[in-house]
Amino acid sequence: MNARIFSARWRATSGPWALLCTVVAFVYVFSLGPILITTAVSFNQTNRSFFPPRGFSLRWWERALTPEWLDPLLFSLKLGTFTALLSTLLALPLAFALYRYRFRGREALVALTLGPLMLPTLVTGVGLLQLFQYVGWREHIGFAALLVGHVVICMPFAVRTVSISLQTLPPNLELAAASLGATPVRTLRHIVFPLIKSGLVAGAVFAFIHSFTDVNLSIFLARPGEVPITVKILGFLEFGFAPTLAAVSVITLLLPLILVAIVERVSGLGDFIYGDRRG
């Protein structure tokens, strides 16, 4: 009540709040500007990254949908999907164990789980490349190595979201189910699992997006023909640019955007954004 009255008074007297709004507007322009510019350029008629765009054309979009770009795009989609699935599958028992049990070494396990989030993905990529070469798995560099690397860096996201779900379970639910005759397995199936579904979905979505947008790890583990879209774009930039890149870029932005929009509608992601417990 107080805060609402207070901020109304803030706004009513312009001054500080109006100034804040102006600054914020500028920050939004800074933040969204380059993306909007890229989108505009993708519709350029000429073969240069002019802005303001000259003329309107869809030819770069046509080029963006040729195998040269579709292949890496589909590769990234496939990689992202498998990463999301594996990450969630591995995260589930891990999160559950951390939630349910107190055991020696629990703190160490937490550190291990969060490790890939805390260290630069670049380093994990370099290390994995070395590992694969060292144990003679050279031929697995490509999809397999990428999958392994992505799962490692994406699993923490899934563990986090599932943990949040578990922690927001009302405390006595499992006891209540047991008192009503539910065996531990049935409790998991009927009570725990339905209530952590949103955490699983959020985890899968974050894992997918993290995989789909990764660059620093992927540059070390890709090989010709098995290249994620981000690495492909990066490589292309070394040869100068074309508005095709702009079109491709917009596509790679749209896909996660649509995914998030759908999942938010269906399952809700808001609770998981901060990465820790919200009331």
Binding site: N172, L173, L175, A178, S179, L180, A182, P184, R186
Partner: protein
């Protein structure tokens, strides 16, 4: 003779250095409503958890209808539990919550539907079956929790302070209602609370617990009128406690030197430290020394007006304090603060309790 519905023998529960339950023996008969009453930390919730099977006892045995269950996990005991926070399943409707126990017992669906409807009717929630817990008030959730535990017809119904999250009016209504339902269905019930009025209103018997043990168990009137220890006397209602010592003449001499000539139980030895205990509402304040019964002189310190009653706080000789509670009959009190008064009571209303060692 039929087995009691519930029997606890030598039940103990130790955590690291703490003995949450230090030795409980309890028998609850079929259809009885027994309350475990005590302050926080006395072990009553732990005892309930042991009966429910949420954790194993460190020692002792639990019998449900004669069957030893201490080794059985919760889902194999035939119990129903109502939790303090209700623990309703948020992703299920009220009806689905109530049906859950029946589903776990593989009851056929048509019977489930009927019994759920009956249970919701019993707790007066007809028509609210499809609502989710989040869309219900605290009182409604509590009724769903109750229905859920009752519908499965458990051997024993366990309630863990189910009323403590409700506001006062609702609490008073619900205690009568729950007791009525229990009497009607005849389900053996163990109720845990720290609220003594709840215990007095609802129970067939009350077990007053302190520091992991039962100090006294008996019918409400017994516990109130004839408390066996100082703890029980002070936990239920309020009690005047006048310290003294048993004289060779088997009277009690107070610190002020007053000799109180009331019967001292044979179990208390001469010379022992005791308290003479009398309820404030059984005392009265008089101007002149009463002819017989308890008579203690003092000065009136304070009069408190509580609407239905008045409290007179008296500073007795030798530093003791007395409390007299009188119904407010509309007349103004005839004593002024500072006046010399006598606290009087008949010996029939006094008890001699051993002082705790």
């Amino acid at each position: 003779m039929a087995d009691p519905a519930l029997r606890l023998v030598g039940i103990e529960k130790h955590y690291a250095t703490v003995a949450a339950v230090a030795g409980i023996n309890l028998e609850v008969n079929e259809g009885e409503f027994v309350t475990l009453l005590g302050p926080s930390g006395c072990g009553k919730t732990t005892t309930l958890g042991l009966i429910a099977g949420f954790f194993p006892p460190t020692a002792g045995e639990i019998y449900l209808k004669g069957r030893p269950v201490a080794d059985l996990p919760s889902f194999r005991r035939d119990i129903g539990v109502v939790f303090q926070d209700y623990a309703l399943f948020p992703h299920m409707s009220a009806a689905a919550n109530v049906a859950f126990g029946l589903r776990m017992r593989n009851v056929p669906q048509p019977e489930i539907t009927k019994r759920v409807a009956d249970a919701l009717d019993l707790v007066q929630l007809v028509g609210l079956g499809e609502r989710r817990p989040l869309q219900m008030s605290g009182g409604q959730r509590q009724r769903v929790a109750l229905a859920r535990a009752l519908v499965i017809n458990p051997t024993v119904l366990l309630l863990d302070e189910p009323l403590s999250n409700l506001d006062l009016k609702l609490r008073e209504e619900m205690r009568i209602e729950i007791a009525a339902i229990q009497r009607r269905l005849g389900i053996t019930t163990v109720f845990v609370t720290h609220d003594q009025s709840e215990a007095l209103v609802m129970s067939n018997r009350i077990a007053v617990m302190n520091a992991g043990r039962i100090e006294q168990i008996g019918e409400p009137a017994d516990i109130y009128e004839r408390p066996a220890t100082r703890f029980v006397a002070e936990f239920i209602g309020r009690m005047n406690m006048f310290a003294g010592q048993v004289t060779p003449a088997r009277t009690v001499r107070t610190a002020a030197g007053t000799e109180i000539d009331l019967p001292v139980p044979a179990s208390i030895v001469t010379g022992a430290e005791v308290h003479v205990a009398v309820r404030p509402e059984r005392t009265r304040l008089v101007r002149d020394k009463p002819a017989d019964g308890l008579a203690l002189r003092g000065a009136l310190r304070q009069v408190l007006y509580l609407g239905a009653t008045r409290e007179f706080h008296v500073a007795l000789d030798a530093g003791q304090r007395g409390l007299v509670e009188t119904p407010n009959d509309g007349a103004a009190p005839s004593f002024e603060t500072g006046a010399t008064v006598w606290l009087a009571a008949s010996f029939a209303n006094c008890r001699v309790l051993p002082a705790p060692s």
